[in-house]
Each structure stands twice: as structure tokens, then as C-alpha cells.
Amino acid sequence: MTTNAAERGVRGAHRAEDSFKWGLYVAAILVVVLLVAMLLTLLTSSIPSLRHLGARFIYGTTWDPVASEFGALPFLVGTLATSFLALLISIPFSLAISIFLGEYFREGPLSSFLKSAIDLLAGIPSVIYGFWGLFVLVPLVRALEMKLGVAPYGVGVLTASLVLTIMIIPYSASLSREVIQMVPRDLKEAGLSLGATRFEVIRKVILPYARSGIFAGALLALGRAIGETMAVTMVIGNSNLLPKSIFSPANTMASVIANEFAEASESIQVASLIEVALLLFVVTTIINLIGRQIIKRVSFE
């Protein structure tokens, strides 16, 4: 009787484990299926545009819905310029935050306050960043532009990058902090016992050890910047011409889709907008693949 019950128990546990395993399989496969389905949908829906425009879509600089001429180069440039500029500006800040919280102040009220403040920054809806950018950053950038003697629009690539910078800092900062915290204690102590100062330990031990994680954080932040739509569209100036400098108004791929899709009635315009989405998909994938290679190369043996 008891053995029977025990056996049944074991069999039950097996069954539970099996169904759990199958559940995981299904969930994992579903994600891949979704990804492939998305890619296929984008591909099939953009066929009219692929046929009509061919490679001109990539290198063309005119986006003219009236004449059915769609060149996406200005948006490609806009997306890459704003996201990489934002990444560049954000690196010193996110690195400083992560060292501060991961090494100098790991515990205590100040550190937990800062940590939750940064997490909060990541949770703010992007439209709020857009509004803040429009009412606070735009006048500041405008004042700067007047001093420099360029056209004082206030909106443009630089303003969009600055808003993006603030939006992506939490992503790279929290991931970098985690990896900096994970640097083994004995490595740091070995450095200190050899007479290294704290700064030298950070520079020669912690950063090299954590660099692949820091890089992964930057990649995550970049991904967020590339896809951001609302905040960017509010401060970039939405000009479909190629930007001439970082003060020029521009447009991004995500922003042009959000702007024009709702009222696009010509089927070729709809197809071209879907092709922009396809291009965005491809660009994101390429950047991720390159990023992974770099992470692999720089990771600490």
C-alpha cells in the first residue's frame, strides 16, 4: 500500500516534470516561430515596394508620398546617428554610475535611493521624456545654436540624442553595476595587497574583468535607442531630408512609420513603410550580431 503510494508519487512527479519540460519547449519554440512569422509578414507585405523601388529604397534620399518615390536613406542615417550619438554621450555617465554603485557605495541608504531612482528613470513612459525634451531641452539647445550661429531650431539630431541618452542610461548602468559587483573579491584584494590604489584596481582589475558585461549593457541600451519612437519624434524635427549636421532636423525609421502609417492610403506607400520596418528589423539584427562578436572577443578569459 505504502510502496504503491510512493510509486504513484514518483510517477506523478515524473509526469509533472515531463509536462513542465514540454511547456518550456513549446514556449521556447513559440518565440522563435513568432520571430520568423514577423520577418515573413514584413517580407511579404513589402513585396510591392521591393519590386517598385529595388535598391533605390536604400540609397534614395527622396521620400515623396505624392510622387510615390520612397528612399529611406535619410531615416537610416537619422536612426544610426541619433542612437550612436546617444550611446557615446551615455557611456561616461553610465560607467560612472555603475562604478559608484557597484564598487564605492554598494550598500546604504544613499545607494539604495540612487538605485531606485535609476530604475524609476527606466520606467518613465517615453512620451513624458518627449514632453520634457520639448519644453526644457529645446530652449537650451536653441540657446546653444544661437551662440554657435547655426539655424536656431532647437529640435534636431542633437536634441533627440540627448533625450535618448537619458532614456538609455538606466539600461547600461544597471547591467554594468551588476557585473562590477560580481568581480571576485580575491582579485580585487590581490591588487590592493600589491600596493595598487583603489583607482588602479578599478582600472586594471575591475574594468577588464567586467568589460564584456559592460559592453552587453551598452548593446542593450543601443537597442533601446534604435527602437525608440515617441520621444524622438517629438524633438527631432521630422524632416525627411538628409541631416547636414547634428543640429539639423532629421527623422528616424521608427518615427516615420509611426507618423505616416495611420493615414497612408496608397498601397505603395503602405508597402514602403513596411519595408522601412523590415530595414529596421535587419539593422537591429546586424547590430546585435556584431555586438555579440565584440562581446565574445573582449570577454575576460
Binding site: 508620398p65 505624392v66 519624434t233 524635427g237 521630422n238 524632416s239 509611426a258 495611420a262 506607400q269
Partner: protein, 352 residues
């Protein structure tokens, strides 16, 4: 025991929900579904609210944009669509059956500026076109000074602000520019999204208004309703008769005093009316002329035409309080005859 109680309760709740939803749809009679233009949305929601209360009917209008309204009607997912740009002959042909347009109110596009000093600025059609083509770049350009005697215009760059999203507002504005400037028609053209030669883009009326407020020296175009509500400085525009007209509810209605075609599909930009504001336009509701389609009952169709005739008649009282321009009497009469021509299996729904 517990299990049994649980089962009974859940099944009871489910049954109640099913019955409840049935009851709801029965009590409400029919629900009329519509979708389309965002511009008249505040007016429509007021009208539908009042009408729905009076006649115990539910009207559901989704403001998804003019293009969406046309698409949804063609796909027969809604009973009526709303649009700021009338359907072209090809679009109607593509929809498969005759579609009629019923004008409900008028809107206008105004030029809001941010020139320090809250000046009242006058602009001619040629100047407006040249500014948006990027040929006039300063506020103290001789061409602007010439039509603004006594106004001290600053030596300031003009920052053009336009819509970045596809919009009926852009359509009306570019339709106007295409009529008054051959160069505009040839270089830029008419549409809901354009290849702008100059300027900054912003999303929606609030986006354009926000940017104009932020940038000294800027000039942007927004809906009249929006400019009135936000007390923006707007320009007087010279109409075809040569009068510099301030956009108001009255001057926009006056612009509709032109010879109307029987189907009301007409662009009234660059109007010939003497006191009419030149960048005005109708907004329409669109329905199929023959209502017996896609399993629609006679009752559904009757409710729809009753609502339409109420909107062009009693419903017009709600236009002015919400700062929309009512359709003139002659146009209302024309719209009445169009609604009277809507049929169900060949016979008119409204008995005269």
C-alpha cells in the same frame, strides 16, 4: 462540498454574463458603428451623445483618421465612415458600390505664427506658397512688408512648421497651395503626407502648436478649432476677391457659398466667395447608397439615415459652441436630398 459550491457559483456567474451581454445588445436595439476623421471627433461625440440619449441608441465612432475611415467602410466593417478629403472616383469604384457623401460641418486651416509682439500679420497666397517653398526666409522680406503697412516686422528667420503625420489638415492646406501656386503643384503636390522642401515636422495639431510656441519666428498651420481654443496668433489671408480675411467660424461658413455639385464632393479652398476664408473645407460622413449589404437589416439602415438627417438638421446647433463652422442652409438642403436618396433594396428609406 466546497468544490460543488465553487462549480455552481462559476456556472451561475458565466450564465449571468452570457445572459447579461445578450440583454445588453437587445435593450440597446442596434448599435451604429462608425470610424474615420479625427478633426470632427469632438463635435461628433457631442452629437452622438445627445442623439443617443434622445433615441436610446448607441453610436460608436472611432477617430482613426480619414484614410482609415474610407478603408473600414470599403471593408464593410463600419456602417459609416468620416473623412476630410472626399473619395476620388477611383476610390469609390474600388469600394464596389456607390458611396454618398454627406457634409456635416466645415473646418479651416489657419497659419499660426510666433512673431514677437503679437502682431496681426497679413499674407497673400503667393507669399504663403513662397514661405513653404523656402523662397521667402525672413519676416522682413519686401514681399511681406508690402502687404503689411504699418507693421514693424523683425529681421528674423522664418521657421516653417508642418505636420509630420499623414493628415487631412495637410491635404486641405496643400490643396490650397496647389491652386494658388503652379510651382507648388509641380514641385510638391497635393496629399496627406508631402515631401516638404523646408521646415520642421511635428505630430498632430498639438505638436505643431507646441513647436510654434517654442520657436520665435516660426509659422505653422493648424486646424482653426485648435488655434481658437489655444488663442494662437493667426494670419489674415487674402482670398481670391482680394480681401484679407481673418479665419473665424463665420468666414469659414461663408467660404462654402459657392456653386455646389449635386454630390457635394467639392474642394472650397481658394473660394470665390467674397468674405470667405480661403483655406476652408468640408468634412463628410460617407455611407453606401444601397444599404442592403453584408446582412444589414432594414432597421439598421433606417437608424443610420435617421441619424444622418438629424446631424445635418438639428445636430447643427452643436457646431458653433464647439467652434466648428455649420454648413450653410443651401448645403444642408442638398445634404437632405442626398440622405433621402439612400435606399434599402431599391426603395428610399425616408418617406418624404
Amino acid at each position: 462540498m466546497k468544490k460543488a459550491t465553487y462549480l455552481v457559483t462559476t456556472s451561475l456567474i458565466t450564465a449571468m454574463m452570457v445572459l447579461g451581454s445578450c440583454g445588453l445588445s437587445m435593450a440597446g436595439g442596434t448599435e451604429i458603428l462608425g470610424a474615420g476623421a479625427t478633426f470632427p471627433y469632438p463635435l461628433y461625440s457631442k452629437m452622438f451623445d445627445v442623439y443617443g440619449e434622445q433615441y436610446a441608441i448607441k453610436i460608436n465612432y472611432q477617430a482613426i483618421g480619414s484614410g482609415g475611415g474610407i478603408k473600414q467602410l470599403a471593408e464593410k466593417t463600419v456602417a459609416f465612415g468620416g473623412t476630410d478629403a472626399f473619395m476620388t472616383d477611383e476610390e469609390i469604384k474600388a469600394a464596389g458600390a456607390p458611396i454618398v457623401h454627406i457634409p456635416t460641418c466645415l473646418g479651416a486651416v489657419v497659419l499660426a505664427h510666433n512673431v514677437p509682439g503679437n502682431l496681426e500679420i497679413r499674407l497673400t497666397p503667393q507669399v504663403v506658397a513662397d514661405i513653404f517653398l523656402g523662397k521667402i526666409t525672413k519676416w522682413n522680406d519686401p514681399q511681406i512688408v508690402a502687404v503689411n503697412p504699418g507693421v514693424r516686422l523683425p529681421d528674423m528667420a522664418i521657421v516653417v512648421v508642418h505636420r509630420s503625420d499623414g493628415s487631412g489638415t495637410t491635404f486641405i492646406f496643400s490643396d490650397y497651395l496647389g491652386k494658388v501656386s503652379a510651382e507648388w503643384k509641380q514641385k510638391v503636390g497635393v496629399g496627406k503626407s508631402l515631401n516638404w522642401p523646408v521646415g520642421l515636422g511635428a505630430k498632430g495639431n498639438p505638436g505643431v502648436a507646441g513647436l510654434v510656441k517654442q520657436l520665435p519666428g516660426s509659422l505653422g498651420y493648424v486646424e482653426l478649432v485648435y488655434a481658437l481654443q489655444n488663442k494662437m496668433s493667426v494670419a489674415r489671408i487674402a482670398n481670391r476677391a482680394g480681401n484679407f480675411v481673418l479665419p473665424t467660424i463665420e468666414s469659414v461658413s461663408a467660404a462654402a457659398a459657392v456653386t455646389m455639385p449635386a454630390d457635394t464632393r467639392v474642394s472650397i479652398t481658394d473660394t470665390s466667395a467674397e468674405d470667405g476664408y480661403p483655406i476652408s473645407g468640408f468634412t463628410w460622413l460617407i455611407v453606401y447608397r444601397e444599404q442592403a449589404y453584408a446582412g444589414r437589416s432594414r432597421e439598421d439602415a433606417l437608424q443610420l439615415v435617421k441619424m444622418l438627417s438629424w446631424m445635418i438638421d438639428e445636430g447643427q446647433q452643436f457646431t458653433e459652441p464647439l467652434q466648428y463652422s455649420p454648413i450653410p442652409k443651401e448645403v444642408a438642403a442638398l445634404a437632405d436630398s442626398i440622405v433621402a436618396g439612400i435606399t434599402y433594396q431599391g426603395t428610399p428609406l425616408l418617406a418624404k
